[in-house]
């Protein structure tokens, strides 16, 4: 196989890691809304934790992006 083509396929495959980040963010925000609609008065207090969880979940997706960039531009 052409090495350049293999590079592009590899970068594409590396981005599959984003699936996990997507599922994670969906679970995170879904559950936050679930809790927030049941008890709206407690929702504001949990917002920093929501963004914290978002940041940690998203970091894993970003790792996949970085691996894809490394494959693409190395």
């Amino acid at each position: 196989m052409d090495p350049q083509a293999a590079k592009y396929i590899g970068a594409g495959l590396a981005m599959l890691g984003m699936i996990g980040a997507g599922i994670g963010l969906g679970v995170l925000f879904g559950n936050y809304l679930n809790g927030a609609l049941r008890n709206p008065s407690a929702a504001a207090g949990e917002r920093p934790m929501l963004f914290l969880g978002m940041a940690l979940t998203e970091a894993l997706g970003i790792f996949a992006l970085v691996v894809a960039f490394l494959i693409l531009f190395s």
């Binding site: 207090g45 920093p48 963004f51 914290l52 940041a55 998203e58 970091a59 970003i62 970085v66 531009f73």
Partner: protein
């Protein structure tokens, strides 16, 4: 058709050539210029709104006050009553990163936060301050951070390496998150923007290709929506960086409460 190169916007160019001193190139690049603009804009903005501070704030003053209160509440809610001590550091991080992100959204200004060197410097700075505060306040008790309380002794050989690794990964994730978000957002905007032009040119060919105009309009709509999203991300990433700095500081400030 011209080759689309979404990474072109991240190229560093020298604007003012300066000599190399002790192996460090002192030239002012577009990245440095954007950082100077960001830092200067924050100083000017905060000086301007506090120069004529009124009890009933005007428009600009209430923007500044809400930024202050946002970070103040964040520091107090995460670190507790000692959050005030770390407020200047956290607010500086937040304001600087947000200014860099926001100015970077305008096409003429370079985005310094899309350079790993810049985000890694900020992340290493944060972790160094966490280490200094940790050792200054707790001495060697700092290492208790790696030994979670209430864990059975049999599990400690497993838990301690995990805690050490998770601590070591912190500067890495801190740097990569900001870098990845900014570079990802700008690349997506660039690619969708190039769709507008290339599908529009395709539509000019006539016949079935006229459908290209529809695609072009669709792409233009997505660029507008993505641009709005990117402004939210620019703010949110600065907020997340500040929040994580608070969380890491809280770990060492309130070590005995663990």
């Amino acid at each position: 058709m011209a080759q689309i190169d979404p990474m072109h916007q991240f190229q560093i160019r020298r604007i003012v050539e300066l000599p190399t001193v002790a192996g460090v190139d002192l030239s002012i690049t577009n990245s440095v210029l954007a950082m100077l603009i960001a830092a200067g804009a924050i100083c000017l903005f905060l000086a301007a709104i506090t120069a004529k501070a009124a009890i009933v704030p005007g428009r600009m003053q209430s923007v500044g006050e809400s930024l202050y209160l946002l970070v103040n509440d964040l520091a107090e809610s995460i670190i507790g009553h000692e959050g005030k001590k770390f407020f200047p550091f956290v607010f500086t991080l937040f304001a600087f990163i947000m200014a860099m992100n926001m100015f970077g959204m305008f096409i003429v200004v370079f985005t310094p936060t899309s350079q790993l060197a810049v985000t890694a410097t900020l992340a290493v700075l944060t972790i160094l301050i966490v280490l200094i505060v940790g050792f200054a306040r707790n001495g060697l008790g700092f290492f208790k951070l790696f030994v979670p309380s209430g864990v059975p002794v049999a599990l400690l050989p497993l838990m301690v390496p995990i805690e050490v690794i998770s601590f070591l990964v912190r500067p890495l994730t801190l740097a990569l998150r900001l870098f990845g978000n900014m570079i990802g957002g700008h690349v997506v905007l660039n690619i969708f923007g190039s769709f507008v032009v290339s599908l529009g040119l395709l539509g000019l060919a006539g016949g079935v290709a006229t459908l290209g105009f529809g695609g072009s309009v669709l792409a233009l709509g997505s660029v507008v929506a993505l641009l709005a999203l990117e402004f939210i991300v620019a703010f949110l990433q600065a907020f997340v960086f500040a929040a994580l700095a608070c969380v890491y500081l809280n770990d060492v400030v309130n070590l005995h409460h663990h």
